[in-house]
Symmetry: C2
Subunit: 425 residues, 2 copies
Amino acid sequence: MSKHVVIIGAGFGGLNAAKKLSKRKDIQVTVVDKRNHHLFQPLLYQVSTAALSPADIAVPIRGVLSACKNTEVLLGTVEKVDFASRKVFTEAQEIPYDYLILACGAKHSYFGKNEWETFAPGLKTLEQATEIRRRILTAFELAERESDQEKKKQHQTFVVIGGGPTGVEMAGAIAEISRHTLAADFKHINPSRTRVILIEVGPRILASFSSSLSERATRDLESLGVHVWTSSRVTQVTDQGVFIGAEFLAASTVVWAAGVAPALLNQNLGVPLDPGGRVIVEEDLSLKDHPEVFVIGDQAHCKGPDGRPLPGLAPVASQQGKYVAGAIARRLEGKAAKPYVYLDKGAMATIGRNKAIAEVGPIKMTGIIAWLAWLVVHIYYLIGFKNRFLVLFQWGWSYMTYKKGARLILSREWRTHTTSVPKNP
Amino acid sequence: MSKHVVIIGAGFGGLNAAKKLSKRKDIQVTVVDKRNHHLFQPLLYQVSTAALSPADIAVPIRGVLSACKNTEVLLGTVEKVDFASRKVFTEAQEIPYDYLILACGAKHSYFGKNEWETFAPGLKTLEQATEIRRRILTAFELAERESDQEKKKQHQTFVVIGGGPTGVEMAGAIAEISRHTLAADFKHINPSRTRVILIEVGPRILASFSSSLSERATRDLESLGVHVWTSSRVTQVTDQGVFIGAEFLAASTVVWAAGVAPALLNQNLGVPLDPGGRVIVEEDLSLKDHPEVFVIGDQAHCKGPDGRPLPGLAPVASQQGKYVAGAIARRLEGKAAKPYVYLDKGAMATIGRNKAIAEVGPIKMTGIIAWLAWLVVHIYYLIGFKNRFLVLFQWGWSYMTYKKGARLILSREWRTHTTSVPKNP
């Protein structure tokens, strides 16, 4: 009698677990996700700045797993897990499990100020990325036709809140697009007068890197024209801009890259959470009272060798997905799993053309070397040959021509005749 | 003193006019469009069936015209034209003109039943194409997890209303995607049981082609599993399906490809319109009482050599755009323009893999020959090397693997925290 493994979430963690389990004949796998696609999140900022198209960095989950004979994919939102009866409940179905892998990921946290979201979208989904793209490109169009100089300046001001890798990448990309890509296209604005302001509450950006690298990144950003404001706390976000204490910055476009919160599901699990809301897991990533349930990736609080929780990075989730698949296989063979150990492959962040930083243990890289390393790593990990090829081609094209291929302003509304509530089939 | 030519709409007509005028030093050109991109509409159905990404068939208007020194591009919706004072009014600006070219195109007509739009989107914009893509892919997902056989059948039923080229291409593409692309990906549905029903009110589909070609197209569609229902009038569309008189067809996905109506602007111009709402133009495509105003493309009623109005096709609009640019140039040189004559390069429609029809005067093509001709013509006309290359690559890939690259279900809602009305910057 084969065992049923249910995996919630097809991010890096869930997908790697499913792939590793796909060859076991004694296991049936069901992957549940509320979206139909796996998203290569590290490149999402490139969609929001019009360098790549959504389909370049997303693959249908079914397509990825179609060769796995023992695997089913279901579209659904998990609303509840019942540990006692070993069942997962979606809006449409209940799914019994023998083993459960929770890999739901994270979303942005507004630190209790959810109403800021409307004015400052985060960058976790393709929908958010195209919304940010729409706002950035629309701001330039509005600046072009604006005669009031103060409003023009507001349209040309872009605020990025949060100085982690995502914020740095966003700020650098917006600065580049305004200096190069759009420079020739507008007649009534000087795109180089665009202000890009990166706001960080801590004393330095990229706090997870060495301070020498974060200094270099700051200089690189400044050379692109980005203003880096550290030790600055945003106290209010409105449709007109942001307040930093008493200071007010008028900006049409604000991007939120500041905080991360795990899936809402965690609050209903009835298990111990860390102050950030992540599930505290055992050494084998299972739950203390439910060894058949594993939590991985951004959803879990797993201590690293230095005693601090592992960061919410793709390599962590991928490794944990593979580890948990192996742990389940071992248990089926009656063996205990060894504790999970994170193999740190380092971290990197890109700032712009020929500009990046990378840190692997004691090795530090900057400039074009780090940028090339970043390129190779990201191309390599982009799942599926086709996407890899297309992305490489688009990057090569952008690099040579300074053009960005996906400069589309798309509306949320598709109807031209009626305005009633749309059907959601 | 240079003359100011204002062009409303950057479709095939407006863009060709702008390009041809771009080298005149005695002319200033302003192109106004409510969108920031030019759309290659003939391939829009491929976006709606997940073969291509929106950015593959759209280019920023600014990018296309950035080398034109005498040309300005403005994002704006034209709300009124005042012929007496020679001014165009958008929501944000008033723009004076010496010559005006109206090239606003057309949208779908629901023949007075605009409330049907919510249940049966048309296919004129990228937003509509991604909405149809979302509905098609979601229907398969819902069928996969549905245990009720009647509902499953409803999710697997796709109705296309209108047997013109767009309807034929949509029906063929949906049939192909269900037979090939999705066949391996679902475990609980038999994608080949998908019903695709093409409904046409007239006695045959593709009425603008010879009847032998429309018969061949019908057979080709049927070989793909499409049911072609001619002489069938849709009398009601609901969220559950369509009524054809007393008959009811339960379908989760309905696509509207039946009627076309010119831009709303026409009704406010105060000039003679044909019964279809198109502006009746003179031999040189100008207005009778306002020779400085030209109307071209889908917005105009221009008689062809057979006395019937020219069809709403890209070649007609392109030729008229170039003609009008030449006519304005001649007038500035004090010469009269010769009457406009349409050079008929024929018409074609694709049905699926290796299946198409084409008709150029007395020459008729079918099967793989017509399909290759269709491929060459469409690649050739796709503006911009980069898009051409990317599209060719994706097509080659799809052809060899039967995979479609852009199978993304994207929601209209990007926010995950708040649900108030979004800001529209």
